[in-house]
């Protein structure tokens, strides 16, 4: 007899909208960011420059999606602690229960679903930690990106007021020595180039993260048979009645 399934809500409407906004922003940021790092297509030499403006548009898109990304990050950081639906920070505290769940989920993955000794109805601590890594990488991209951006405001002026470059310097100047340390520079003094290398390298780490994220969600859907992939579309998954 077929088991009865129960619908479990996992993502609010806002969380789902945010997910897709971030996903689209990321694709746009990668496409334009790779162009900024190394312009990989050419413009027609016969076209007058005024009709092209290709690098400028790439940078415009890159900055626009970055700002959307940044605002979304601030909201997500707030929701970590104050969400009324589910507070992710609770799954990050290394309590005995969370640690056990964390390793059980890893075991489930490496034993190819032979061992599944945790409750898969709610958000588990492994995935929460995995997302924390993602959020930390995003924060790093935000800070290094703004550090690179503020160099274009060298005059200290900006259309929205002088507080903006002032604040960006205050908040992001420390990424220069930290980038130098992260990429292991042997030079006595770190420089903007270290930030640039770090920003570019972190993009690849994020792409690796995305590859695993997509694979893992599809894998869960297939092997857990609980419809996990539909969480991000409809907001809920389906769990056997005896569990829910």
């Amino acid at each position: 007899m077929k088991p009865e399934y129960k619908q479990v809500k996992r993502m609010t409407t806002f969380m789902r909208i945010n997910h897709w906004v971030v996903a689209i922003c990321m694709v746009a940021a990668v496409i334009t960011g790779l162009y900024i790092g190394h312009p990989y297509y050419q413009t027609y030499i016969a076209d007058p420059a005024v009709d092209k403006y290709v690098m400028a548009w790439n940078r415009w898109i890159h900055f626009m999606v970055a700002i959307i990304f940044d605002v979304s990050s601030i909201v997500i950081a707030y929701l970590y602690f104050f969400s009324r639906f589910e507070k992710p920070y609770k799954k990050l505290i290394p309590t005995a229960a969370n640690l056990k769940e964390f390793f059980e989920v890893i075991l489930n993955l490496v034993t190819l679903n032979r061992r599944k000794k945790f409750d898969s109805t709610h958000s588990d601590s492994f995935n929460t930690v995995f997302f924390l890594v993602f959020h930390l990488m995003l924060v790093w991209m935000l800070l290094t990106g703004l550090q690179l951006y503020v160099h274009g405001l060298a005059s200290g002026l900006s259309s929205i007021g002088n507080w903006w470059p002032w604040m960006l310097h205050l908040v992001t100047d420390w990424t220069v020595p930290v980038s130098g340390w992260l990429i292991g520079t042997t030079a006595p003094t770190a420089s903007i180039m270290d930030v640039r290398v770090s920003h570019h390298l972190t993009m690849w780490l994020i792409l690796v993260w995305v590859a695993f994220h997509i694979y893992y969600q599809v894998w869960r859907t297939i092997y857990w048979k609980e419809g996990d992939i539909s969480i991000v579309v409809g907001g809920s998954k389906f769990v056997k009645d005896d569990k829910a």
Binding site: L34, G37, H38, P39, Q42, T43, I45, A49, V50, K52, Y53, V54, M55, A56, N58, L109, L112, N113, R114, V150, H151, G152, A154, S155, G156, P165, W166, H169, D173, W174, P177, V178, I183, G184, T185, T186, A187, P188, T189, A190, S191, I192, M193, D194, R196, V197, H200, L201, M203, W204, L205, L207, V208, A211, F212, Y215, W219, I222, Y223
Partner: protein, 411 residues
């Protein structure tokens, strides 16, 4: 622990490259008074040992008073002062022989000295560097050996706590500094610098080697060379990087010192903001081609013939702070991008390894933190992504096989 707290403090209070070009009338009126008083005081002093007079020198070179005043107003602008300061700047230039300067060379190629000496024809900046009271400079002095050392001792004694010390070249710290020694007593460069800087009014590090270690400090840095700011503590220090440093900026620093008695406002890397507060990219004549996506793809192509942007052949203008796109070199004759080759970021730290590789950063070989295999960031990133893909593939295949087994077991 105290070190760490200091480090964190430094991290969060580091000054940025912001340039405040308008500080209000009250500020400039006060500054004008200070400068005027100082200039008047200097006028009453007799010149130091240099008896050359700038008016004679200018006349000898066929430079008119009018040209000199045009230069003075340009320098006033460069120092970010209102035009009312022009007469003061001109006066300060005439009084430059009141500032005793000792110029020492360490691990370097004398390129900064050469930049001053070998310009196509001496222009006002270079002439001014002739009339400063240059008490000691190994490259151009006639004395040698013990005589030269005596000259240095005399200068240090006579102008104790008053002289400006110009340092050209990096300091090798490996082997207890014995990679570089100077004089009959084989004094190491480090000891040499420490001894002479002790009674200097201020130290000016000239060129990228003296500021950030430059080429001697490039990977693998066998002599463990460092810049002056890494070893010299407790002295006013001004960095004038670039390879070579622009004579205009050296003159600017000296004039600022004569005018105000103080060192100019510095950024977090101790570079004067009047010279290094601007990004090359933002004042570049090829900037429009950058925005349009018009790049030189290879040397000598149609893009190169049409003065397109040099970003794809490695120009580092977007990451480099210097005023050479504004004032250029050799009294405005030309500059690197003007002659059709990219900026190599010579005024930024570690430029030889991180900026001067003649291709965009994404294509440059970056040393792994372990010092091992050099890969570009993109090769390394693609490698990571491939490794992740292979891992995912193996897991997927294994899951598939395990899943089938399970099904057949159930049946």
């Amino acid at each position: 622990m105290a070190d760490r707290i200091e480090g964190v403090k430094k991290l969060f209070t580091s000054k940025s490259a912001r340039v405040d070009t308008n500080r209000g009338d009250a500020h400039y009126e006060r500054l004008f008074q200070i400068c005027q008083t100082r200039i008047e005081a200097l006028k009453t002093q007799t010149p130091q040992q240099n008896r050359l007079h700038i008016d004679d020198l200018l006349e000898d070179q066929g430079i008119s008073r009018r040209d000199f005043m045009k230069w003075a107003s340009a320098v006033t602008g460069m120092l970010m002062l209102p035009s009312s300061f022009t007469p003061l700047v001109a006066d300060a230039a005439l009084l430059m022989n009141r500032a005793p300067v000792i110029w020492i060379e360490l691990s370097d190629c004398a390129g900064n000295t050469e930049a001053i000496l070998r310009s196509d024809g001496p222009k006002i900046d270079e002439i001014l560097l002739d009339i400063i009271s240059l008490e000691f400079n190994e490259t151009i002095m006639s004395a040698s050996g013990h005589q030269a050392e005596k000259q240095l001792e005399d200068a240090m004694h006579t102008f104790k706590d008053k002289y400006l010390l110009f340092v050209e070249g990096a300091i090798p710290m490996g082997l207890d500094g014995q990679y570089g020694t100077i004089g009959a007593h084989a004094e190491t460069f480090y000891d040499h610098l420490m001894r002479i800087s002790k009674h200097a009014a201020a130290v000016v590090a000239v060129g990228s080697c003296a500021t950030f270690g430059g080429v001697p400090a490039a990977s693998p840095n066998p002599t463990q060379a460092v810049g002056v700011m890494d070893v010299l503590k407790g002295k006013p220090l001004i960095n004038i990087p670039a390879c070579p440093a622009n004579p205009a900026n050296m003159v600017g620093v000296i004039i600022h010192y004569i005018l105000t008695g103080q060192i100019p406002e510095l950024d977090s890397l101790l570079r004067p903001k009047f010279a290094f507060g601007y990004r090359i990219h933002d004042n570049c004549e090829r900037r429009a081609h950058f925005d349009a996506g018009e790049f030189v793809e290879e040397w000598g192509d149609d893009g190169a013939k049409n003065n397109f942007c040099l970003y794809k052949v490695g120009c580092k203008g977007p990451m480099t702070f210097n005023n050479c796109s504004i004032i250029r070199y050799n009294e405005g004759v030309n500059w690197p991008i003007g002659v059709g080759r990219g900026c190599i970021g010579c005024s930024e730290p570690d430029f030889w390894d991180k900026y001067a590789y003649e291709r965009p950063m994404a294509d440059a070989n970056i040393k792994a933190p372990t010092g091992g295999v050099e890969k570009t960031v993109d090769e390394f990133g693609l490698g990571l992504l491939t490794a992740a893909g292979i891992g995912i593939g193996i897991h997927a295949a294994a899951s598939l096989a395990a899943g089938k087994k399970e099904e057949s077991g159930e049946a």
